[in-house]
Subunit: 598 residues, 2 copies
Amino acid sequence: MKNSSQRQAAVRNFLSERNIGAFIIPSGDNHFGEYFQDYFACRKWVSGFTGSAGTLVITQKGSALWTDSRYFVQALSELEGSDITLMKMKTEGTPTIAAWLKEQLSESGVVAVDGNLFSKADYESLESSLCPLKLAITDDPFNAIWKDRPNLRFNKIFSLSTSVTGESTSVKLKRIRLQLPENEDYVYFLSTCDDIAWLCNLRGSDIPYNPLFASYIAITKERALLFVNNNVVDEGVRKELEKEGVELMSYELAGDYLLNLGKSVRLIASPDKISVSLYEKARSGGAAFTPDVIRGGVTGSLKAVKNKTEQEGFRMAMKNDAVAWVKFMIYLESEIKKRPNGITEFELAGKIAEFRAQSPDYRGESFSPIVAYGANAALPHYSPSEENQVFIDNKGFLLVDTGAQYLYGTTDTTRTFAIGDLSYEQKCDYTFVLKGMINLSKAVFPKGTRGSSLDMLARGPLCSAGKMYMHGTGHGVGHYLCVHEGPQSIRMEENPVELMPGMVTSNEPAVYVKDSYGIRTENLILCKEHEENTFGTFYSFETLTLVPIDTRAVIVSLLSDDEVEWLNGYHKMVCETISPLLDSDCQKWLAARCACIG
Amino acid sequence: MKNSSQRQAAVRNFLSERNIGAFIIPSGDNHFGEYFQDYFACRKWVSGFTGSAGTLVITQKGSALWTDSRYFVQALSELEGSDITLMKMKTEGTPTIAAWLKEQLSESGVVAVDGNLFSKADYESLESSLCPLKLAITDDPFNAIWKDRPNLRFNKIFSLSTSVTGESTSVKLKRIRLQLPENEDYVYFLSTCDDIAWLCNLRGSDIPYNPLFASYIAITKERALLFVNNNVVDEGVRKELEKEGVELMSYELAGDYLLNLGKSVRLIASPDKISVSLYEKARSGGAAFTPDVIRGGVTGSLKAVKNKTEQEGFRMAMKNDAVAWVKFMIYLESEIKKRPNGITEFELAGKIAEFRAQSPDYRGESFSPIVAYGANAALPHYSPSEENQVFIDNKGFLLVDTGAQYLYGTTDTTRTFAIGDLSYEQKCDYTFVLKGMINLSKAVFPKGTRGSSLDMLARGPLCSAGKMYMHGTGHGVGHYLCVHEGPQSIRMEENPVELMPGMVTSNEPAVYVKDSYGIRTENLILCKEHEENTFGTFYSFETLTLVPIDTRAVIVSLLSDDEVEWLNGYHKMVCETISPLLDSDCQKWLAARCACIG
C-alpha cells in the first residue's frame, strides 16, 4: 500500500519519543470477540493488509506482518510497496515475533503494546517469550496519528423479554453468584460482550453479524454494574435493568472503577478475556486477583446450556430459515435453467438473505455468507466478492454456507448442491461426508463425554477413504448471539468441556480437494437427555436444522441401512414441518426433494 | 484376621520409638510395576486384606484401610476381628487419607512412609495434602517385626537374541541418548523393570506373569550401569551385556551410586517411577534433577513402538495361542456334552494353560486367567478359585479372558461362549459388543490421533442400546513383557499419547449385567501405516489375535453389511492361518466355526 511507509513513520515517531524499540499491533479490540469496529482496524490502516488474522510489528529498522496460510497470497499483494516483510506462520524458517524482535533490538530493548488490546494471559505469555527484552504498555498511538480514524459506534441497545430468553437477569445473576466465593468480597468482571448480552437479556448492533454492544459488567455480592455508553439505553430499558438488579455506569469509567476497588476486594476474571490494562488498574489499586479458571468462564458455561425457551426459539428460527432455504433452492434450480452460466455466487449470496428477510423476525446474517462454486469451495473460508464475480456453470458442486439471526435464535447451515454432472469420486466424497454427518447426528454417549470423543464419528468415513478436513467438526452456537460460541466443541483436539443437555453445536464434516471442489454438509444439533438406567445417564442429539440435503449426489450403496433410514426420517421430518409454511408449488418441490432413497 | 492387632501393635511400637504419629503402608514395591514379590506384602501381612489394591494407615489410636469398590465385600470379611476401619473409596462420606489423618493427629503430628515404596511424585502430592502435618521417610519397619517375612527372590536372568528383539541393546541405548541433553552431564535413571528388560534384551522370573527381574539402570553419555543381584547373571550374559556397553553393578548399590553423583551431574528420571528415597539420595549428594516428562518416559515410549521383528513375534505367538484356544474350545464343547453341569471354571482355567504348554515356546500365563460363568462374568476382575468351584451349566454365557507369554510375544484374548440358551437381550448385547470391537478394528485415522478419539467407535453401539462398560477399551501390550503396558491407551479419558505404527493395544469392549451375565470380546490390534497422500498420513489396525469368535450368539440383522464382511473376512484369515497347524478333526471343527454368516 502506498501510504503505508508514511503511516509506519508516524508510529516510529511515537516510539522514538518514548524510547521504545518496537510496537506490536494485533487484530482485535478490548472485548476479545470475533469481530471489532473499524475504529480498531489499526493494523489494516498502517499495513494495508485486510485479512481477519494478522499481527504487525514495527521497529525503527523495519516492519513485519505475521499471518496464516489462508492469507499468504492476499497479504503478499496487499503489502506490495509497503516495505513490510510477510512472515508466513507455521512455515519452516519463519521466526516467531519474539525471536524476530530479539534479533532486531538490543538486549535492553523495550517492546510496547496497547494494553487494551492484549489480554492478561497473552501479555504475560508474550512477556516471558520476549525476555530479556522488556514489554511495556502504552496508550493507543492512533488517536493522534490516524487523522480520519472512524468514530467508535455505540448503537441503541434493545432488550429481549423472558418469553424469548427464558430466564430473567436477576435469576441469571443468582446462578452466577452461586459459583463465586461465599465468604469474600469480590468483583466478578466481564469484558466479553456476548456474556453480558446474554446475562442482561440485551442485544445491540455495534459490530457486524454478532448482535452485541460495547460493555463491561462488574458483579459483586449485592450489585451488578453495567458499563455502557450513556446514550444507548432508553429509559424503559434502564428501568427494566434496575428491576433486575443491574445499575448503569458510563462505559469510560470501567477502568476507574477497577482502580478504586482497593485492597479488601478480590477481582475475579478470565485471564484471557480481561485486558492487561484493566487488570493492571485493579492491581495498582490494591485488589487481589483470582482467575476464573472454568473453561469459557462461569458465565460462558451457563450461557452455553440453552434453556427450554431458548431451545424452542432455535426450533422457530430453523423453520423460518428452512422456508428461506427452500425458496432459495427453487430459485437456484430455475435460474440455472433459465440463465446457464448467467448467475454468480455473489448474486446468490444476496438472494438467500433476501428470502430470509421475508420473515419479520429476521435480524440479519450471522456471518459472512459463503457461496462457493467449483474450486472456490476447496477454500474453507472463501467468501464471494462483488468485484470478482464468479459465474456458475451447470456442472459440479455449489457449496452454500450461510446463517441468520432471528429474534429468538441463530442459524448456521451448509448445503452442497449437485448442480450438474459429478465424477464418481465427487459422489463418493459427498456420500462419505454425509455418512459422517449422520453418524454424529445419531450418536448416543454417556454423560461426561467430551466433544473430542465424538469427532471421529463424523471424520471416520472420510478417513477410511484416505481423506480429511483440517478443521473441527463442530463449534458451539449462541442463542440470537454469536454463531461461534464456546466453550464446547467437537474436534480432534482435546477440550475438557463435557457436552451437556441444552448445548447447541454445529455438525459439519467436509472435504476439500485443492483446485477442484469442496463439500460440506452442516446441521446444528442440540444435546439432550436420552436415557437414564442402571448403566448410567446417556445423552444424544436432536437435529435442529430443517433444510433438505441434496440426495442427487448420494451413492446409496455406500450408506448402511441405518444411515438410509436416518436420512429418510430426516427428510420426512423436514417435509412435515416445513410444508405447512409453503405455497403449493413449493410444497410439491419440497416433497420431491424429500423423497425416500434406497 | 486374628493376628492383626498384634501386628498393628508392633508397628505402633516402631512409631512411638520414633515419635511418629502415623504410618502409611501402600500396595507395591520399589519398582512401581503391577506385581510385586511376597516380601513386599506388608499391608496384607498386617491387615489380612489380600486384595491387589489398598492402603493401610496405622495411628496410635486406630487403623484404617482404603480400597475400591471391587474389594468392599472381600475387605469387610478379611478385616473382621482386626479393628481396622474399612474406608470405601469414592463413596460419599469417606474421608481421604490426608483428611482422616488430620482428624487423628495433632497439628504438629508426623506421618511416615517407607520412602522406597513411594514415588517422588506421590510423596510430594501426599506431603502437600497432609499440610500442616509433616511427612517423613523411615526405613522399612517390617525387617524387624515380620519374623517369618519371605526372602526377596532373585532368579536367574536370561537373554533374548536380536532375532527375537529385533534390536541390540547398544542401538537402543543410542536411541535413548539421542533424547537426552547433549551438552550436560546427566544420569538417566530407570527403576521400571519392564523398561530395563526391554532395553537390555533380558528377561527374568522374580514376579508372577511379568517376565521381569529386580533391577535399576543408570545411563550416562558414556556408560550404562545395570544394578542387579550378583548371583543372577551368568558369565555368558555378562559378556554379552558388556559387548553392548552395559556394565553390571550390585543391586544394593543403586542408592550409594546416586548419593555419590555429586553436584556437576543432573539426574533425569520419571517423577512417578523413581522412589522418593532414591531421589533424596541423589539430591542430598548434590545432583540437580530434571523430570522425564514424556508420558511413559523416554524408554517406555520407544518400547511401546514394536519393531518389525517384535511384530513378527507377536504374529507367531498368536498362532501358538490360537491352536491352544481351538483345542480348548473343542474340549469345552465335548466336555459340556459329556459332563453336563460337571466341569468347573477352575478346571477350564487349568485346561487352557495345559493346551498352551504344548507349545515349546510357552513361558507361562501373562495374567491370572478369568474363566467366569453366568453372573460371575458380570464382575470384570473375577478369577476362579480352587476353593470355591463353580460348575458350568448348559445355558447362558461363559467368559474366558486369558493370555500367555511366549518367547517372542505376549497374548491377551477374551472370548465369550454361548454355551446354551440365550435370551434376546443377551444376543443383542453380544452383537453390540461385537459391533464395537469390529468398528475399532476397521478404524482408519489420521496421524496424531489419540486413543481417546477412537474409544467411542467401540463403545458407541452399546451406548445406543443404553448400555456401557466402566473400563477402558484398550491397553498397551508388551513384547514378551507386561500384558499391561503404557503409555498409549484407548479409553474415554484423555491421554495425550498419540497412537503410532508399531504399537500393540487391546480392543475389548464389554457389557456387564449385574448378577446376571457378562460379555467381552477382545483382540490385540497393531497400529500400522495405512496411506499417505495429499490429505495427510493415515493409520489403521492389523488384528493380531487369531481365535474364532462365537457366532452362535450373533443377531446378524443387527450387523451392517460392512460388519458382516469384516467378521467373515476375519474368520477366513483365522481358518487359513491356523488350519495347517491342526489335525484333521480340529480342522473340521475350525472350518465349521469359521463359516460365513449373513
